[in-house]
Symmetry: C2
Subunit: 403 residues, 2 copies
């Protein structure tokens, strides 16, 4: 018999009160704790619980998609999130909320509350995010990727993660369908778009065989190139900021995959914001450059400091290592470009779109923003395999036909 | 408490007699059955049991390497072999012995006995193998690879194999060390070679930084490109022939990896034979060409017949599919070339060498054969990334500097 039940606020108080370490963190009797629901994602229940001494954040899986009770979904998604947090925390503990407790029966995560932080996506809209936050995300991707890669650790450890996260098929299926396939299928009822304004462009995306050949390449990269343990959903809604304190949340999509997938989703979301807010385009380009410089700097540095931690590349001397670094970073950039493009398309005409478009002043502005995103997204998908440097990426972004 | 014990011939008779279906296959009372040990590999016990009605072949893991009792090894290796046989039998049942029974406690496989067959490696030496056997191996690789690839089935099924075979770390560690790393390490005591004849060449292989950069690339391909479920050890000692009946045995190294690894080990072993037996060089080149034509023909045909069985590539139309096929086959050829080269080196100076060299008429002949293999192996390793067609491969093989 499973102990699972969806916890109501009173249940949650009792549960936390019964766990000494959690109760102590909140302080005083549990009856007095304030419970506030903050769920704004699609999938799970999230509550902030506050007591006189402090606060915690509780995230629990529901047996269905939160915003669509008819879409049934296994409860194990928070299990993968907790496992991901445990795996990467040793390397990026300062860039995530601390995991305080995980209950595998209730599928409940209790973590450090970031109640002074705000979600990056919202802060971009209000222009309250402190410029340069992308340096931290570059570090985050470098550290999580390097230490979970074939060169960062003995292959047996990576195989253990391959095995563990290969089980995360429910959420991986969402990525395979919603990100990598559905938007290009006319018959898919989950797509929706501004009509009639985008009709012609969408019809083109769904019938262009050359585009589909490139999409097919990115599908294969996503599934067939497990370079490192990925966050799997690193968009601007999975990042919280408070001043220069940057945290990554919501790792439930974690799987072994190409490093450029995490990087590409992140960059794709900065570009989506730039599409909606033209006055932020230069800022977003700067963030992309900052992200890449920080990521590459850190990734090279980790590799230099740990030249023989893994099986792959253990034979290389310094020159061989530098050459391998250049090749690997070019590969990450190619993947970044392609997946950024895929993200831009799916967030503009697919099932789960970005709220950035609500920032547009009127319908014409929104139409133009969405068309910009679709044009650039398509360019990145088809040309990505030839984009190997940050300059090539920035030039593509700034191209007249593009942005 | 585990029921495991190493079975002696009398134990084996009793065990088989207690299983109705197996006993019936052998016929008569178990006391009369003949048990013959045929182990000639490095790792396991293999027995043929014959009764009046028929025969079976029994393979059991030992708690150590058969030929080196000090090298302890987990018993689960036959578990992976049985799992591999079950997975691929629906596609290549006619090319493997039938799996009759698996006992997970005894780590015992009971399979169809191929007592009329002989191991290909030996038949090459005696020139008794019927030319053209490689067509069957081409089919074998095409069918096992396609149906276990991301385009041959829904990704959830591939993830299940990723998870299951990620556990095969003991044997994968052998590949990572013995095939992909040790031969290039001067400090590795498991290497051995004809000395002093090969000393200078071996020293070069172990200090050439450019070579090590290429080796590092193949290491990464092996671990980081799980395209399909591989046999993992597809050499001429893992293939048995009887007339034109060809069977693949010994899948205990199975893992998800690049298709070109299976293909490359096979081709590498044909080339090792050609190095030892110059009078068989044209024959071996023909077998390589036959293998490749059969593999590519069959792989394309399966893809054409099953264009949307998997998630990857499901959007492609016929033209896109043909283009993707050409790209994928070029990738398999690159990997084939590189891994063939790695196999040639390791089987000449590494821990487990090939018996083909015993076919050389004298020490000078053997020295020349081994040097030929080392020269060609090195060329394939460093140039493999540019070898994309069968003609490019055959030209490299026939180059004066090479062969
Ligand atoms: N540790 C935390 N501290 C404070 N607030 C948090 C914390 N974690 C999440 N939140 C809030 O809860 C919201 C939902 O969290 P999260 O994105 O993890 O949920 P989700 O349902 O998995 O979302 P998605 O559908 O995007 O996957 C966040 O947008 C954020 O506002
Ligand atoms: N089904 C079979 N029928 C008849 N003989 C067989 C059969 N399977 C294996 N053999 C014989 O047993 C020998 C050893 O089998 P196999 O190669 O599977 O063992 P192994 O110990 O795993 O070898 P390796 O060290 O190469 O991995 C084969 O070379 C072959 O001669």
């Amino acid at each position: 018999m499973t102990r699972y039940r969806t916890l109501s606020p009173p249940d949650l108080r009792v549960y936390l009160g019964a766990h000494d370490a959690l109760g102590a963190r909140l302080g005083g009797p549990h009856e007095g704790w304030a419970v506030r629901e903050v769920s704004d994602g699609n999938l799970n229940h999230v509550f902030i619980v506050e007591g006189p001494a402090g606060a915690v954040c509780c995230k629990q899986s529901l047996p269905h998609v939160r915003v669509d009770p008819d879409w049934k979904m296994p409860l194990t998604r928070t299990d993968f999130e907790a496992r991901y947090m445990r795996r990467v925390a040793p390397h990026v503990g300062h860039l995530m909320p601390a995991l305080l407790h995980f209950d595998p029966d209730l599928h409940l995560i209790v973590m450090e509350s970031l109640h002074h932080h705000h979600v990056l996506r919202g802060m971009l809209g209000e222009a309250t995010a402190l410029a340069g936050f992308s340096a931290r995300i570059g570090e985050y991707v470098a550290q999580t990727a390097f230490f979970t890669s074939w060169r960062g650790r003995p292959f047996e450890q990576s195989m253990a993660d391959c095995a563990a996260f290969a089980g995360n098929t429910t959420l991986t299926r969402i990525t395979v369908d919603l990100v990598l396939t559905d938007p290009y299928r006319a018959a898919c009822a989950r797509n929706h778009w501004m009509t009639p304004e985008l009709d012609a462009t969408v019809a083109e995306l769904q019938t262009d065989a050359a585009l589909h050949a490139s999409v097919s390449h990115w599908q294969e990269r996503f599934l067939g190139a497990p370079q490192a343990l990925l966050h799997g959903d690193l968009h601007t809604g999975s990042i919280m900021l408070h001043g220069d304190d940057v945290r990554v949340i919501d790792g439930e999509f974690a799987l072994m995959g190409p490093i450029g997938f995490d990087a590409g989703l992140y960059v794709g979301n900065l570009l989506l914001h730039a599409a909606a807010r033209r006055d932020h385009a230069t800022w977003m380009a700067d963030e992309i450059e900052t992200f890449w410089r920080s990521f590459t700097h850190e990734y090279r540095a980790l590799w230099e400091t740990n030249p023989t931690s893994g099986d792959v590349g253990a034979l290389l001397d310094a020159a061989g290592r530098h050459q391998a670094q250049a090749q690997e970073l070019a590969m990450v950039m190619r993947d970044l470009a392609g997946f950024a493009g895929m993200e831009m398309i799916r967030r503009t005409i697919g099932y789960a779109q970005v709220s950035d478009y609500a920032l547009c002043s009127d319908r014409t502005g929104e139409k133009e923003a969405r068309l910009r995103a679709l044009t650039l997204g398509r360019m990145l998908i088809t040309r990505g395999r030839r984009i190997e440097t940050i300059n090539a990426l920035l030039e593509t972004i700034e191209e007249p036909g593009g942005f």
